[in-house]
Symmetry: C2
Subunit: 210 residues, 2 copies
Amino acid sequence: MIQKLKENYSPLFEDALLTEIEKIGVYKEVAEGEKLMEIGQYVTAMPLLISGAIKILREDKDGDELLLYFLEKGDTCAMTLSCCLGQTKSEIRAVAELDTQLIMIPINKMEEWTGKYKSWRNFVFESYHSRLMEMLDTIDSIAFLKMDQRLLKYLQDKIKVTNDDVIQSTHQEIAYELHTSRVVVSRLLKNLENLGKIKLNRNSIQVISI
Amino acid sequence: MIQKLKENYSPLFEDALLTEIEKIGVYKEVAEGEKLMEIGQYVTAMPLLISGAIKILREDKDGDELLLYFLEKGDTCAMTLSCCLGQTKSEIRAVAELDTQLIMIPINKMEEWTGKYKSWRNFVFESYHSRLMEMLDTIDSIAFLKMDQRLLKYLQDKIKVTNDDVIQSTHQEIAYELHTSRVVVSRLLKNLENLGKIKLNRNSIQVISI
DNA sequence: TGACTTTTGTAACCTTTGTTACTGCCCACG
DNA sequence: CGTGGGCAGTAACAAAGGTTACAAAAGTCA
């Protein structure tokens, strides 16, 4: 664990902090598709990502979903931070997008470390900053873009995060994450295929050039 | 200034911090409609709101606007915080919604105070939390609600922030903030009037019951 | 193989939202 | 007092996206 920790967080954290993380943090692996956090659940630990990716989803009262953003290695979940400190319930759902390795830090260390370690403080602020920027980006997409543009952006984000130009998703799954209907996604994907930007197959989409 | 500061932040901040703020902070008044921050501008100070309200707007590359949320007394701007620490440019526009009193803190104090004062740290985290929650709320609105619901929510937020059930806005101004067209706003407002929820007048909307 | 399920393609239609165009109204100001 | 500019009402139309329905293709499994 300490090995992987250092690979990802070593220039960032001072040694004393790394040692503390090693002592207190709990190493965990989650498989693709596994749920890490559900809406309304109490938050007891915050994750530091070592590898893989986690998608963060929002849901409204009718059960309609929307993908907010992805977390990748070196990231942590600002929502979790936020909820920890406020002792409130989670506002989001977190699902592993890939097989993921992470270290869980119990929340009671949060307050202590933010006082004690400057590097931790910077990390936490940096995380908040990143997440705010990602939320802004999400808002830009849903407010200013039409569905075809949003879909394109979705495909781009997906291949970036999985590092694979073949996307293993059904149209229905994409529709959920963009909060639209399967028929609309199929329609727009077919357009993209006709433009030669993608190649459609059952359960997968090969991205050619977008 | 110290008077007003204490009224709003006294239970929150320890005395030593209040004294520092008094020494270093710059008291400022901005009139309704005045611009406090423009997109792309560098951030050199963060505001602590004493009274009034500030609206935070996002703009896309075509100049289309969207209202993100309001800041009120006791609030500070997490975007500013965020930008300060990262030394980056502002991603948002800030405009006074009402006549507003605030104290500007130079950003170089940020890092120092977050290390030194626990109460400041909590305040900053609390601010990030609030702003993240407001961003989530904004996302919910634009992703899950139809325009009529969004308009209703807009009117509710507006009367809450101004503490006045008469809204002094033109349909065009509302259209900008919701990122839609004037005709659509007029249409939906007329519906609300027919339902007896509001009374329309030139340059103002009287909210009766929503 | 054959029955069944899941996924995708597509047409037809509806609703919501955006656009254009024109009208009348109110108000400020010369 | 009249005229010009900003504001609001409305109709007619266009475009985007959502819904329903159905069929075909692909996979699954007994």
